[in-house]
Subunit: 102 residues, 2 copies
Amino acid sequence: MYGMIGKMTAVEGKRDELIAILLEGTTAMPGCRSYVIARDPAGANGIWITEVWDDQASHKASLALPAVKAAITRGKPLIDTFDQSTVTEPVGGHGLPVAAGR
Amino acid sequence: MYGMIGKMTAVEGKRDELIAILLEGTTAMPGCRSYVIARDPAGANGIWITEVWDDQASHKASLALPAVKAAITRGKPLIDTFDQSTVTEPVGGHGLPVAAGR
């Protein structure tokens, strides 16, 4: 599996709007086993995103999906900074069903 | 929901053994929606753990489960350092079914 742990900071006051766009735009992504969007309780504008994919190719392919591309276009102006992005190699656990669309 | 993103470093050469203990010890935790154990591709001994719980109380209660307590006892000597622990407030996404045991 292929994982990512990312943190971004929304433009001041735009976090909820950005989260709503992310939630709408990231449904039905083939190869996606987990995609969790979370507020950062330590900061008013921080967002954590943790992802688990079948493999790196399925993550890359998701970026070409119309709904994801639309979310990126709508969300980009609401992002102030990308603070952290870490690649991981998930090995197991809970909440990792076989991905939809396979 | 209540989330955690943690990073630890296993004692040199003990990462796989520690991961196996974590995988065995963290099944059937009431209130747990997601618990993903991942290798850190950037380091030979790093482990990332990302968790989503119904609430902070369910996370706290899990630490008293016999299987979890046993895993902590067995795993502790294999942990070199806790490098990072971040609390999050998950708001949605994929891979977050209603937790088992509710």
